[in-house]
């Protein structure tokens, strides 16, 4: 009897009128856990009943405590007929199961009904008494902490990062059971909500068990998803990174010089959203062996290296007994792991050694009924296959590990695309296991390498490159080789040296496909996939060059499948890394030299492109310092002979010879164009409008180059659905529609949030789905954060001057609590002068200087295409008329910097109102310090209506529903004693409508970490560093208005 759950029902308010005659309600409450139910008394004739019930006590196994939700149903008593349900509240009691989190859940919860939405509120108190249970063979995993945050949570220190954990459970979807034909929509929705709640509880418990087996105590970067496979069932799957975390005891507040405890330095304050990578692999060869199932394997060389991390068994059987683990430690631990993957996107300093590039794999499957839910082997096998592929891609890149790893699916009827992506990386083994040091790694950890560029250095062997890449010496340290472009799925490392600001870069693509059934359909899809990946990649590359930048972070490529089309949407944050070479411009070459007007047109386009690049450089403040040996004043857009690289043309071979740089092979980056398409593509490049002045946007946690955040934040979700007119369904028209949809959506966001200027949209997360034939749905969740413009300006001015301090400031820029740095170490100071400082600092923090300074090189060649691309190229060339050349100017960037320490910019505006709960997709709250993690929030809601018009049509319906979801999340957080949700994500928003029947249904799944935060202004002892002059007018205590 390991636990006693106690529940008290206090009161209700704002109940709906259930008895028309009296305009009142006779409400009572049923409290159900497992199979036990208690009831309160009926509170007659009141819309604000006071039940003040006794404590209802449930004596239960901790296994049940983890799996089951507490179910509270409010009903209207009816003497003569059946009692009417008013609504329900599901409470996940998991946060009460580990000691450091919440101790009591107490507060007002919205009473939710799947047909009517929120109907009043109920005040509930829940407590759990846990008894110690020493049973080794237990099935529960109480005590393992879960975090959605994809970095080490703020008030913890990572002792060991064990590695990948995954699990999936399947069940039949109640919506598709025979009984659904005879029960009400409400009963069916509730059955579904209950089942999913139960399945996520079970999943979490099973993952917890694996973590315990690995001797960890927490899962970080926990990502749980639902696959609604329709007839074939319901899959709930989760991945995460097992860690051993130590709670930092330091009472932060009282370091005068810096506002946060020095210990925090050890944790990487940055977290990034999960992102998907782009070097990809498709599984496409079709095995029809099993008849109905397709396994397709297309391998595209995707650089992924996996290094460390302890993977757990893929099938979710026992993860790894300790003995095996110990054995592994003595060998090269990482390589032994089945999947050395990490769902983290930001890391403790020194953890990430080199980055190889993005690795990804996709596979198209045909769904069939899951016959035995207890043995979900098929789905496990599918994922294992993909992970294996990712792993091998990483190996090919000379990397041992994959970081920023994530998985996703897109389902249409019986076809399912499984995708996985991550960033191949070489990691410092120190964090992976205590005491184990990898021999091979050591060599690479050359102490004298500056840290600001280390992660950019290539991890693979220069002479034996896995794909054609164009290498140069690192522009920062001049010692190691770096690629010319780097794509990653992770956040910008804290110590990275960037120049200027970053920006959101998106590639958007649609491809029509024929409607088909089953295998024919799957085949068609898998044939299209590589082309899409290729084009998405090309678009990203071109847009990156157009911005004058050379690296992408947080890359996430989503391919969605619909009945008659495929959509690809890639989002990433472009930056200029000081360590990488200056990107070449884009050059257009005409293919028919005799045609004068054509030539003229081409040169006109060329000019426009050059202008755009120049404008973007100014906009994003990209002005890398020129190296002394450089020829004076060579603005990037001017193509330079000596480095011109012409790609994709067969006749370009002689030009290639001109290249004096180390890329011997043909540059793989190609823009395929035929006459019309070419213009189209070039135009679309140029039609991307930059955000209005005062706005920045990125899909990473924080905006590279902006550091002075103020405390005003506004998280939002925006959904748009457009209907395509079936007449103009060509690829071109589709692309244009899709592009317009995304651009207009962004424009609307900028307009709506204009009162927050200057501000930055962070963690912009687009998801695309194709709910019906001619419908495209785009859902965006992001957070707008204000920043202090004055400081930004200042920064810009000093920009060019102080190059030496650049790197250190950069580090700060990336931290949300920048001042932490000044006391504890500039962990990644790239320059020798900083060295001593660094050593002393690092001794504070317990990390050997050697490892901090470590840099290994890795390069991403994310963009190199491998052989499959070449193949495509060949095909594409037949129709190509014009082409785009990329010009690489040889200019060297050196660290530039604005040396001024930035002032903390959180203004002293207290978060006055009680009960305000902030929500943010980021892992931190600007100007505040997270003092406690209360547990994971993972909620699933269904809303249905049969009176769509009356509820304001589809927009009114969904608007109200999303507002209700926010409200329920906030209420749960508040009841846990928290005042914010961080790492919030809306994982699913499935919307279906049937306007003819006046019906609509929507499913939403959200998750995040409930936390308690304290405003820094409340913590702070007035420090000398704070010149207080920078009280922004903009800070209005979180109040946002347009």
């Amino acid at each position: 009897m390991p636990g006693k759950l106690k529940v008290k029902i206090v009161a209700g308010r704002h109940l709906p009128v259930m008895d028309r005659a009296s305009d009142l309600t006779d409400a009572f409450v049923e409290v159900k856990f497992g199979n036990t139910t208690f009831k309160t008394d009926v509170c007659l004739k009141s819309l604000n009943p006071q039940w003040n019930s006794e404590w209802f006590k449930f004596e239960v196994d901790d296994e049940d405590l983890q799996d089951e939700p507490l179910q509270i149903t409010v009903l209207d008593h009816d003497t003569y007929s059946a009692n009417d349900a008013i609504g329900k509240v599901y409470i996940d009691i998991d946060p009460l199961l580990y000691s450091e989190a919440a101790t009591v859940i107490s507060g007002w919860f919205p009473i939710y009904d799947t047909i009517h939405g929120i109907r009043g509120e109920i005040n509930v108190v829940v407590k759990v008494d846990l008894f110690n249970d020493l049973n080794r063979f237990r099935q529960s995993s109480c005590g393992v902490k879960f975090f959605c945050t994809t970095s080490i949570p703020k008030c913890y220190r990572a002792v060991i990062i064990h590695g990948f954990v995954e699990e999936l459970v399947v069940n039949e979807d109640p919506e598709y059971q025979w009984i659904d034909r005879i029960r009400t929509p409400r009963a069916s929705n509730e059955a579904r909500q209950r089942l999913i709640s139960l399945m996520s509880g079970e999943l979490q418990r099973k993952i917890g068990l694996k973590v315990l087996e690995m001797r960890g105590n927490a899962v970080v970067g926990y990502l749980q998803c639902f696959d609604l496979e329709g007839e074939s069932g319901l899959v709930v799957r989760a991945i995460g990174t097992a860690c051993t975390l130590d709670k930092l005891s330091s009472p932060a507040a009282f370091l005068p010089a810096c506002n946060s405890p020095s210990k925090e330095m050890k944790e990487s304050p940055l977290v990034h959203p999960p992102s998907h990578g782009c070097r990809s692999t498709h599984n496409s060869p079709i095995h029809t062996a099993t008849g109905s199932r397709l396994t397709q394997n297309f391998s595209v060389s995707v650089p992924t290296l996996i290094y460390t991390g302890m993977g757990s068994g893929s099938a979710g059987k026992e993860g790894g007994p300790f003995k095996a683990l110990l054995r592994q430690q003595t060998q090269s631990a990482l390589e032994q792991r089945e999947f050395p993957f990490f769902t983290l996107t930001a890391f403790p300093p020194g953890f990430l050694v080199h980055v190889g590039g993005v690795v990804s794999a996709r596979s198209v499957k045909l769904l069939d009924r899951i016959h035995n839910p207890d043995e979900p082997e098929t789905r496990d096998a599918w994922w294992a296959e993909i992970r294996q592929e990712i792993k091998s891609h990483a190996k090919a890149l000379g990397c041992h590990a994959v970081v920023g790893y994530s998985e996703s699916t897109s389902i249409c009827e019986e076809v399912c695309i499984l995708s996985a992506s991550g960033t191949a990386a070489v990691l410092n083994p120190r964090f992976l296991q205590d005491g184990t040091v990898e021999g091979c790694l050591e060599q690479r950890l050359e102490e004298n390498l500056p840290a600001g560029c280390g992660f950019c250095h290539i991890p693979y062997d220069e002479l034996n490159m896995p794909f054609p890449a164009h290498l140069t010496h690192c522009y920062n340290c001049r010692k190691q080789k770096v690629p010319d472009v780097l794509f990653t799925t992770i956040d910008l490392p804290v110590d990275a040296t960037v120049i200027g600001k970053g920006c959101l870069i998106q590639a958007r693509l649609c491809r029509l496909k024929k409607k088909a059934q089953a295998e024919a359909n799957a085949t068609a899809i898998s044939n299209l996939l590589p082309f899409m990946e290729y084009e998405v990649h090309t678009q990203l590359m071109n847009k990156l060059k157009l911005k004058g930048m050379n690296a992408l972070f947080g890359l996430r490529i989503q391919i969605s499948v619909g009945e008659n089309m495929l959509m690809g949407l890639a989002s990433a944050t472009g930056v200029y890394l000081a360590a990488l070479p200056t990107p070449g411009g884009i050059q257009i070459a005409g293919k028919t030299p005799n045609d004068g007007s054509y030539e003229q047109h081409i040169s006109h386009m060329q000019k426009k492109i050059n202008d755009t690049i120049a404008k973007n450089k100014e906009l994003y403040e990209i002005n890398p310092p020129e190296m002394s040996e450089e020829i004076i004043g060579s603005p990037i857009p001017e193509p330079r002979q000596r480095s011109r690289l012409l790609r994709s043309q067969s006749e370009s071979s002689d030009e290639v010879a001109e290249l004096d740089l180390s890329h011997g092979k043909k540059d793989a980056f190609v823009l395929e164009i035929d006459d019309t398409d070419a213009m189209e593509d070039v135009h679309s490049l140029l039609t991307d409008v930059p955000p209005p002045s005062g706005f920045y946007s990125c899909n990473t946690e924080i905006m590279p180059g902006i550091n002075n955040w103020t405390s005003e934040i506004q998280m939002f979700t925006s959904v748009r659905v457009i209907r395509l007119s079936s007449l103009n369904l060509t690829n071109q028209a589709l692309n244009k529609n899709f592009n317009d949809l995304c651009e207009n959506l962004l424009k609307s966001l900028y307009f709506k949030l204009r009162s927050m200027i200057p501000c930055c949209l962070c963690h912009v997360n687009f998801t695309v789905s194709l709910p019906e034939d001619e419908l495209i749905q785009v859902t965006v969740t992001a957070v707008a954060i204000t920043f202090d413009k004055n400081q930004a300006l200042q920064t810009a001015k000093t920009h060019a001057e102080k190059s030496l301090q650049r790197a250190s400031t950069d580090n700060e820029e990336l931290l949300q609590f920048p001042l932490e740095l000044c006391s504890d170490s500039l962990p990644s100071h790239p320059f020798p002068p900083a060295k001593e400082h660094l050593e002393s600092a690092s001794s504070n923090s317990g990390i050997p200087a050697a490892q901090r300074a470590t840099s290994v090189d890795y390069s991403s060649f994310a963009d190199r295409c491998s052989s499959w691309i070449e193949l495509i190229k060949l095909k594409a060339q037949t129709i190509r008329r014009g082409s785009i050349k990329t010009t690489v100017t040889v200019e060297k960037a050196s660290p530039v910097g604005e040396g001024n320490f930035r002032n903390r910019s959180s203004p002293p505006c207290a978060n006055s109102t009680v009960g305000v709960v902030k929500m943010t997709p980021l892992s931190f709250i600007p100007g505040a310090k997270i003092t406690k993690y209360l547990g994971i929030i993972n909620m699933f809601f269904i809303r249905e209506t049969t009176s769509l018009r009356e509820e304001g049509g589809v927009s009114g319906f969904l608007h109200a529903f999303i507002a209700e979801v926010f409200a329920m999340v906030r209420a749960h957080v508040a009841a846990l004693g928290g005042n914010a949700v961080v790492s919030y994500i809306m994982k699913q928003c499935v919307f279906m409508e049937n306007p003819n029947k006046n019906q609509a249904q929507c499913l939403i799944n959200v998750s995040g970490d409930a936390v308690v935060f304290v405003r820094e202004s409340e913590l702070e002892v007035v420090s000398t560093q704070q010149p207080t002059a920078n009280c922004q007018p903009a800070c209005a205590g979180g109040e946002v208005t347009t």
């Binding site: 209907r723 900028y750 709506k752 589809v954 507002a963 926010f966 906030r970 109040e1039 347009t1042």
Partner: protein, 357 residues
Amino acid sequence: MTSELDIFVGNTTLIDEDVYRLWLDGYSVSDAVALRVRSGILEQTGATAAVLQSDTMDHYRTFHMLERLLHAPPKLLHQLIFQIPPSRQALLIERYYAFDEAFVREVLGKKLSKGTKKDLDDISTKTGITLKSCRRQFDNFKRVFKVVEEMRGSLVDNIQQHFLLSDRLARDYAAIVFFANNRFETGKKKLQYLSFGDFAFCAELMIQNWTLGAVDSQVDDMDMDLDKEFLQDLKELKVLVADKDLLDLHKSLVCTALRGKLGVFSEMEANFKNLSRGLVNVAAKLTHTKDVRDLFVDLVEKFIEPCRSDHWPLNDVRLFLNQYSASVHSLDGFRHQALWDRYMGTLRGCLLRLYHD
């Protein structure tokens, strides 16, 4: 390509004050967009008309959802669905309950019934206020009326407590409720020159002095109904004009005191009996509901207009009324001094406020 669905939901509910005003003013989305375009917002922000349309729709949808809560403002404070900072909540409520001068003048003193609601079309045409806005304002009046009627305690306090209005606005609503309850006629042509503020001022004085609440604070509707007993007693004042000696004495007291101080002394002297008769008769008639309703018409006819036609300056009116009220205390034969003060104190205040062009 048509937009099927287009929404934006913030964790903190975005409220655009300008759009809120347009919504309150009853403009349709397309009219509101047109007005916003005219305000030059597109140039300022570089947005497109489509963006503006989407933004306006979105705000309108939000307001529509909020409207239900605004009908019972305390609900807005306690609801969980929309996270709105308190200052914004206050703004939403205050603006929602604000009304147009032109509209309130049309409705003031009318019964807040369905019949009146049917006339809103005409009011809308007459005032140029959209029908939608007229309906909102009318419904607000009616809602406040319904909630506070038959309630104990101060009218202003009750309104403030149930609708969370500012003191100023709560007072205005108290006046509206008071007028509606007593059905004072305000729409006659001769009353057109009076503003809502004039009536509200009078209402406040009357609530303070003439209602049940003025003598007993523990009855229902104490601030809404006039004190019947008091009205009944007012008949006693008739003696002031019925008794010729008393009237003459009163006149001579006033004239003696004001001689030389009044620019319009001779006119006053000539008119004294008429004016006094007017004022006292108004009092004596208040026993009939019908005459209560005509209170303001009578005051204007019997006092304001005669004075105005003789071009009395406001200051002379004040001096006269002061003296006129005070002199009664020296009339030995007159026993209803307290009654007179309760009546005349309020009436004097009202008349001075009503006396303008």
